[in-house]
């Protein structure tokens, strides 16, 4: 009987354990599984992201790994599953503009040097998506890191893994891993502030790892939740 119980525990944990290869931090799981706690953690993880129709404007300090950098204005519009993004100079000139639709198709309508490389476009849209859109995996593994932080581990298309981490001090972060489980992006989410009745992170710091890495230090300029119906009437 004892061996049967252990077999059941092993079976319950195995679906999450398969996502613990080298490179990914190992998660620990409560035994027996606390369903109520897991649901609460998952809800907290999902509240990291936004649903509906928003327009965010950030100042973005863009820093390449080699040291080159620039300050630009970033616009992000969430329209349901569609994500629109634009980068412009402080003087208003548009450097990059693209739309990522809900079916993962993205269209670049404007891209000026040095933002005209295809890999930049796809990388930027991936960055914006990771920051603002909830992962599509509806059944994340819920566990804890060695330091006690709660984690929701999502498995996306092409075996991309996204960890949403709820730290004990109340802060949050997101980490994404590629198919080989190498760390691709780290996002530190700053404290939330009230803007027009919504709690919005004041700062976001994204680090793209690797030899072509870069850092985006984003500071919120404005945030609006837009009533689409009212807006159309205008």
């Amino acid at each position: 009987m004892k061996s049967v119980c252990w077999a059941i525990v092993f079976f319950l944990l195995s679906s999450c354990a398969r996502f613990q290869p080298a490179g990914l931090p190992e998660l620990s799981y409560s035994k027996p599984a606390d369903t109520r706690l897991s649901r609460s953690v998952q809800q907290s993880c999902e509240s990291t992201f936004f649903k509906g129709y928003y327009q965010f404007v950030h100042s973005i300090v863009f820093q390449m790994a080699q040291g080159h950098g620039a300050t630009v204005i970033g616009v992000t519009v969430l329209d349901g599953d569609t994500l629109k993004t634009g980068l412009m100079g402080v003087e208003g000139f548009v450097l990059f503009e693209a739309v990522l639709s809900g079916d993962k198709q993205f269209e670049v309508s404007r891209a000026l040097p040095p933002f005209d490389r295809p890999e930049f476009a796809s990388g930027l849209m991936r960055d914006v998506q990771i920051i603002f859109h909830a992962p599509s995996d509806k059944n994340p593994c819920i566990g804890n890191l060695a330091d006690g932080a709660s984690v929701c581990r999502y498995v996306e298309d092409k075996d991309q893994i996204i960890d949403v981490i709820l730290h004990d001090d109340g802060s949050r972060s997101i980490k994404s891993y590629d198919a080989s489980h190498s760390l691709g992006r780290s996002i530190a989410i700053g404290p939330r502030i009230a803007v027009n009745g919504e709690m919005i992170p004041e700062t976001l710091k994204l680090i793209a790892h690797g030899s072509q890495g870069y850092t985006l230090q984003m500071t919120l300029i404005s945030s609006e939740k837009i009533d689409k119906q009212t807006d159309n009437e205008i």
């Binding site: 100042s59 620039a70 412009m88 003087e91 208003g92």
Partner: protein, 198 residues
């Protein structure tokens, strides 16, 4: 990325020079020494549900000194003086100079501005000017490559010589940047430090 920004800048400066050089037949030719004005910039873009607003101040002194400053949403200062171009961005309480931002292109633009001061407006190789009614000047790129980036620029002039009401830059069918100027001061002596210190 600054390359195209400098073209915009070129016209913010140049509009005064156009008028000073007599493109508008209704105006009296005046030698421009300096001009300074506040501005509100409105950015419209296809993806934007709401336009973006910026505020700043623009100061130019002939022959080639410029301070182009934004107070919000990001505090930045672009300085041109004695052949040098610098851009500063405020981080916290201090201004940090941003390097590698196409400074050479800015210096080329300044040379064009100097040419305008010498009355070479009609010969500018970059844009063609068309004077419309109601003190409106339309500038269109001569080169197809540039027209893909900037479709046209509209300069709306005020009655007073050497001053403009607004500049609108069209980047495409759904994108424009409009700067509306106010509180303009013409030909007032400006300290040199204005163009050297952020």
């Amino acid at each position: 990325m600054i390359r195209w920004t400098t073209i915009i800048l070129f016209f913010f400066v140049g509009v005064n020079l156009i008028q000073a050089q007599g493109i508008s037949e209704q105006q009296t030719s005046v030698r421009l020494e300096s001009v300074q004005a506040d501005f509100i910039q409105e950015k419209q873009l296809a993806i934007l549900a709401r336009p973006l607003l910026s505020k700043g101040r623009f100061i130019f002194q002939a022959p080639d000194s410029l301070r182009w400053e934004y107070f919000s949403p990001i505090r930045t200062v672009l300085l041109m003086h004695d052949g040098r171009t610098r851009k500063y961005v405020q981080h916290g309480e201090t201004f940090v100079e941003e390097q590698g931002m196409g400074v050479d292109a800015m210096q080329i633009v300044l040379q064009e501005i100097t040419g305008w001061l010498d009355g070479e407006i009609a010969d500018t190789p970059t844009f063609q000017a068309h004077v419309k009614e109601n003190k409106l000047i339309i500038l269109t790129p001569r080169e197809a490559a540039l027209s893909k980036i900037i479709s046209s620029i509209e300069l709306k002039l005020l009655d007073r010589t050497g001053l403009m009401e607004s500049v609108t830059l069209y980047e495409g069918a759904d994108s424009l940047t409009r700067m509306v100027f106010s509180a303009a001061i013409l030909n007032e002596k400006i300290p040199a430090a204005t163009f050297t210190e952020p």
